[in-house]
């Protein structure tokens, strides 16, 4: 399996993420900002969509033309020629070039005439989706070029052409976006962050999987030499597959270094950065380490339990894979966990550390629950067929016991260690710890999953029971059919009560819910301020308890009044008591003039 199997998944996730984020940002901005002063959303949508499609056609065409040229120069002797590729490439280039040139020049001229266009979400999406597609092509083809340099495979004309064409495309769009980065606001900066952290994730995934495979090849070779195991199909170190792994790690390392260490180095505390850090620490680090540890623990356990029918050399041949996975997982974990600690402080550090502990505790709990489910399922199967007891010594059952022990050996310490780190502070400082959002999400998440499992297991159990009852076929075989459902139900019943108690204890410490604002008490409130009045609007909104629309006041004498907490309280009372059904707040020397209207 090639380590690059993750690339198309990441590209698809990137595209879906960009679209979802774009729509959310667009809606949010539409709600917050005033009228569109640029070329207008419909025209903008048309020009950037056509520019993007035309750019892709153009790049595709040039790639095909360049492929033809490279094949002519470096490919083998031609037995039979075909001009189809050259003709297709030329056609795409001839169509795409003027189409892109015209539309792109149009939007560039508009940007020069109206600098506010630079803040357009569609422009940002165009630039960063183009860069994202470029990085995807460069990642997928860059490693093939390096493979060829390392003397693996035939001359990759398409990969060379793709690298030569997509590199300047990426550079041009990066240069264009960089020039405009100072004019980006919080919303459009999110698009660049999405690109940066998805590219960083792609890079680290390629780097880690490439290095993991390299470590695996070296360990396998050492294992083979030491134990003379029959490793048919495995490779010598630095054979073709090892060189592919080296190529993948080189390209991944370059992408990660560029995006994480260079471009995203001064970005701090953004949600997307934290998502990246959590995914890399927990997904890439903890889960990979635990899976590797599982492989490394299972092999000796199954051996000692007598679940192996082959020689020791062959039985332990999976150990190199486990050790390599643990090594890479630990490296990922150490680096990203340190970054999490160093980049958080104060209240943020509290939430980050609690979220981290709870996520790891959740992984441990899921592992323990799964192991318990397997134990109960095994028990019911044995119970349903006493004849099975005679085969409990067979390899199949021994393998199952080794698996259960492995899962418990991993899950219990992981869950206990991290749940303890959450519970001890909760006893010491319950007012803060027990009502923290990460803890609430964890407890509710466990209860929700537990209930879903309970309902699913109960439905399955009931179905098999009723089916056999109605068919008058109730027998020991029925219990065998019920075993999985019953195991799920009992496992859920082990997990739910404990977490329900935790939930009840936490709820007792929560402050009383504020009185809901009566629907009739809320009214449309419009707050007029100069640019930068969003914070004030948020404070008024918080005090009123319902939404306030902030509109920009563009006149030269516009300003944002400075109000104390008491003044905002007073303003809220004036809004509430104003006779009109709607209220307009206009800045004046005393703060705001409250004008109500129907």
């Amino acid at each position: 399996m090639t380590p690059l199997i993750i690339v198309p998944i990441l590209i698809q996730l990137a595209v879906i993420g960009a679209i979802v984020y774009g729509v959310l940002v667009w809606r949010r901005r539409a709600a917050e900002s005033g009228p569109d002063v640029g070329i207008g959303t419909p025209r903008r949508f048309y020009f950037y969509s056509i520019s993007f499609i035309a750019l892709m056609l153009l790049v595709s065409g040039i790639t095909m033309v360049l492929m033809t040229l490279l094949d002519e120069l470096f490919g083998g002797p031609v037995i039979r020629d075909s001009t189809t590729r050259l003709a297709t490439g030329l056609a795409l280039t001839i169509v795409g070039l003027p189409l892109w040139g015209f539309h792109w020049r149009f939007v560039q001229n508009k940007v020069e005439a109206q600098p506010s266009e630079r803040r357009s979400i569609l422009r940002r999406l165009y630039l960063y989706v183009s860069m994202g597609v470029s990085v995807g092509f460069l990642a997928f083809n860059g490693y093939k070029v390096i493979e060829w340099v390392l003397q693996v495979g035939d001359f990759p004309a398409f990969s060379w052409a793709a690298v030569l064409v997509w590199s300047p495309v990426w550079a041009y769009h990066w240069w264009t976006a960089s020039k405009e980065s100072t004019e980006s606001d919080l919303l459009t900066r999110g698009i660049s962050r999405l690109y940066l952290y998805l590219a960083s994730a792609l890079g680290i995934a390629m780097l880690a999987s490439g290095i993991g495979f390299l470590v695996y090849f070296v360990l396998t070779e050492g294992y083979s030499a030491a134990f003379s195991a029959d490793l048919t199909g495995s490779e010598r170190p630095f054979g073709d597959t090892a060189r592919t792994a080296l190529s993948v790690s080189l390209v991944g390392g370059l992408i990660w270094w560029g995006h994480w260490f260079r471009f995203a180095s001064d970005d701090r505390s953004s949600i997307l950065r934290w998502i990246y850090l959590f995914v890399a620490t927990i997904g890439g680090g903890t889960i990979a380490s635990l899976v590797g540890a599982g492989i490394a623990i299972y092999a000796p356990l199954s051996w000692f339990l007598g679940a192996a029918s082959e020689s020791a050399g062959n039985h332990f041949e999976d150990l190199p894979a486990g050790i390599a996975t643990v090594a890479v997982g630990i490296a990922l974990w150490v680096y990203h966990r340190r970054r999490m600690i160093s980049e958080s402080s104060g209240n943020e550090a509290f939430h980050v550390n609690r979220s981290y502990d709870l996520l790891i505790a959740a992984i441990g709990l899921l592992t323990v629950a799964f192991a318990s489910g397997v134990v109960l399922d095994t028990f019911f199967r044995l119970l349903s067929d006493t004849a099975s007891l005679t085969v409990v010594t067979s390899l199949q059952w021994r393998e199952r016991f080794a698996l259960i022990l492995t899962l418990y050996l991993i899950g219990i310490p992981v869950w206990l260690a991290h749940w303890r780190r959450v519970q001890l502070p909760a006893f010491a400082n319950p007012e803060v710890e027990r009502i923290a959002l990460p803890r609430k999400l964890y407890v509710m998440g466990v209860l929700c999953l537990g209930l879903l499992a309970l309902v699913g297991g109960a439905s399955s159990t009931l179905f098999f029971f009723l089916r056999d009852l109605l068919d008058s076929e109730l027998s020991a075989d029925t219990l065998s059919d019920l075993s999985t459902g019953l195991a799920v139900v009992l496992t859920a019943l082990l997990v739910i009560p404990y977490h329900w108690v935790i939930y009840r204890q936490d709820r007792e410490l929560e402050p009383d819910e504020p009185e809901p604002v009566a629907a009739s008490a809320s009214k449309p409130v419009t707050l007029l301020t100069a640019a930068g009045g969003e914070g004030l609007a948020a404070r008024v909104e918080s005090t009123l308890g319902y939404r306030v629309t902030q509109v920009n006041w563009p006149d030269p004498d516009a300003f944002v009044p400075t109000l104390s907490a008491e003044q905002i309280e007073l303003l809220s009372e004036q809004v509430t008591s104003a006779p009109g059904t709607s209220v307009l707040l206009v800045p004046d020397a005393n703060g705001f003039r409250v004008i109500s209207y129907n």
């Binding site: 094949d71 002797p77 031609v78 037995i79 039979r80 075909s82 189809t84 297709t88 070039l97």
Partner: protein, 157 residues
Amino acid sequence: MERYWLIGGGTLLGLLLIASVAISVSRGEADFDPGSPEFAVQQYVRALASEDFDAAEALWSPSLKEDCSFEAFALDAGRDLDRLSEARITLEETRVVGQTTVLTVDVVRTNGGGIFGPSEYERSYNFGVREFEGEWRINGHHWLADECVSSHFAPGT
């Protein structure tokens, strides 16, 4: 500044297009020595691609004709033969296995171009050629009917 970059890029692109067309048109297909295995395969592939089955059958070795039916081959390999038309075929490797010379060719058929790159079918095929009475003849290759494969070609071995 941006204008100069775009002009520079456009000039480079123009030169690339001209060079590609010029080189592709001027180089064309390789001229193999008429007494070589490569020439025999080239003639055979050209005959199949242009559906000149008489010419193709004439290039089969006597033993291949004896054991295999050309009609069965043409029917069975119909889809693969279709792929030869409009395909660019290059010689990848030549190696000698006993009395047979095995030539590996790379067949690339471009079906068009999408917005994310070309849509191409690419596959390697092996041809076994052997010298009979001073002339190189096709003695086995892919696409032969199943009953001929084991006796006449085991590609790559």
